[in-house]
Amino acid sequence: MEPLKLLDLQLVEWANILSGQYVATDTILKLITSDYLIPLILGLILLALWFSGDNRYARKRNQTIILTAVTALGIANLTVLIINDFYFRARPFDEIELTLLFYLPTDSSFPANPTAASIAIAFSILREKKMVGTITLILALLWSMSRMVAGVSYLSDIAAGASIGIVASYISSLILLKLTPIPDLLIRILRILHLA
């Protein structure tokens, strides 16, 4: 375990070299790392997907993707919450001196919750819609990696978060497949209101 921990620290230290060099890159990094930019863009993509599609069948497919993504997000968050109850890992800035571009989070570093949540959404979309899924995946990876550059996550936190996100999206699609009448009922109710 020790060599892995060392490698993790070295990778953060190496990535953090990008921080504090230029005002422009720092501003962009702060924006990407922010808790409010990429999560909101992902939410807006899901909202746009709800109203997209040339006919009712295409729209229903998109709306089912959204329900899968939201369920996957819930599963990923719950998994991270449970892991955090049993295991606490200090943030990289607690271990080594880094140039910080982010506020000092106090929760456990492992696994990376933002990665788990965003990858869960991205993979739920990616399985059905390649183009939109690829865009969301790029955004999710950008958000995750920027947190490493900003000195708040290790690469292993991001890898664990991504694994949780991928598994959550598969579990979610299985759940919705087994419980098809529930999302169908929800969509049918919204159709009466002309909203689905």
């Binding site: 909202l47 997907l49 006919n55 729209r59 002309h194």
Partner: protein, 134 residues
């Protein structure tokens, strides 16, 4: 203004823009603010970019949830509320704007596709009439 209100306004306006972007490409004319697809798409993009620029430039937004920021659950709730408000606003404005549309309307079943040719208001009214006369 408080951080929560700022975030809610960001969600509301960017959601309005996002809906307009989505309906610009599809057949849901009844939800458009502007009838032609290209100007409507530009309008949607402008709404999103202006609201994001305003939110991130007006004040420093790198705020932890332990201070004035929002945690993940609060963000999700604010997003759901803001997006619902944006949908209601879109439905109201597009209904007012597109209500003069008097094309022949054949409503067979409910759903978003009824907004391909009519506004939310007129399709809901006709659907309720249909149910009432059944």
């Amino acid at each position: 203004m408080s951080f929560e209100l700022d975030y809610l306004l960001l969600v509301f306006f960017s959601s309005c823009g996002s809906i307009q972007l989505a309906v610009s490409q599809g057949p849901l004319y009844g939800l458009r603010f502007i009838k032609s697809p290209f100007p409507n798409k530009v309008f949607g993009l402008l709404l999103i970019s202006i609201s994001f620029t305003w939110f991130f430039i007006s004040e420093p937004r790198n705020i932890p949830d332990s201070s004035d920021g929002l945690n993940g659950n609060q963000q999700a709730l604010f997003f759901i509320f803001g997006a619902c408000m944006a949908t209601i606003f879109t439905v109201l404005i597009s209904s007012l704007h597109n209500n003069s549309n008097n094309r022949i309307f054949l409503l067979s079943e409910p759903g978003l596709e009824s907004l391909n040719s009519h506004s939310f208001y007129s399709s809901t009214r006709k659907y309720l009439n249909l149910l009432w006369n059944r």
